[in-house]
């Protein structure tokens, strides 16, 4: 039995476009804020995970690659990856790194640090990314946030792809910080 398709079933295309745009103009990284704010908005005001369940382009992309294109080994995800301590620990780590990125942006805005036209993968490896930005186009802090935010988005995509290949197509969802955060909010809101 075929299920009816919705427009949001094709949001995996948006995920590809988002990451591709970051190779041409880093300022498009700001679009990723939708992926941060919309799930929180839906969880806080709607008390649901509609974003994770239907709108997450990245999750859909993992499903497409892992299930449809058979890029996943479909092996069981290690149990510790979905344990509470790991999920909330990773969320804490992720939020700390996000806070650090916002602080770097603040330093650039305050003139205490200069703009670095590079992205950092896995919070460790600096990769020159200067071709995606022409100096002076926007305020330096706007560009700094773009580089930082794109680093975060690309790192999480790569992590998701690695666990997709090794385990199940959407193993990333087991410890996705946004998923953990929104489920926590829903549990609090719905008193579960």
């Amino acid at each position: 039995m075929k299920k009816a398709k919705h427009l949001y079933d094709y949001f995996w295309v948006y995920a590809i476009i988002y990451f591709a745009l970051g190779f041409f103009n880093i300022l498009f990284a700001w679009l990723g804020m939708i992926d941060f704010l919309l799930p929180l908005f839906l969880a806080i005001f709607g008390g649901n995970k509609f974003f994770c369940n239907h709108l997450c382009g990245r999750g859909q992309l993992f499903s497409k690659l892992g299930t449809d294109l058979k890029c996943s080994r479909c092996k069981p995800t290690p149990r510790w990856m979905s344990s509470k301590w790991f999920r909330y620990g990773f969320l804490l780590f992720f939020l700390t790194m996000f806070g650090n990125m916002v602080f770097q942006t603040y330093l650039v805005a305050a003139g205490a640090a200069s703009l670095r036209e590079a992205i950092k993968l896995f919070w460790t490896f600096r990769v020159p990314w200067g071709w995606t930005y022409t100096a002076g186009t926007v305020a330096d802090w706007v560009a700094q946030f773009s580089f930082g935010f794109y680093s975060l988005m690309l790192t999480s995509l790569l992590l998701g792809l690695i666990v997709m290949v090794l385990y199940k197509p959407r193993t990333w969802c087991a410890f996705c910080p946004m998923g953990t955060m929104t489920q926590g909010i829903c549990k609090l809101k719905n008193k579960e």
Binding site: K49, N53, G59, C74, S82, R170, W172, C173, A174, G179
Partner: protein
């Protein structure tokens, strides 16, 4: 007529990602209020598609009288 098998979800481990809901060919699994997924026992045919793709492995297909 009800199937002999049924998907059973361990809601304490479920991360409410919605993979099962999107995978279920008959729409028998739904994520409840963003907290965990639940199976509609009367509709589930026990095909196991949700269990195969669940990223945390919290779904098991059991005999209906055991579930």
């Amino acid at each position: 007529m009800l199937s002999k098998k049924l998907a059973a979800i361990d809601k304490t481990r479920c991360v409410a990602c919605g993979v099962c809901e999107n995978t279920c060919p008959i729409g028998a699994v739904k994520v409840r209020r963003g907290c965990y997924a639940a199976v509609e026992a009367e509709r589930c045919v026990g095909c196991g598609k949700c269990a195969r793709l669940c990223p945390v492995g919290c779904i098991e297909v059991k005999a209906r009288d055991e579930a």
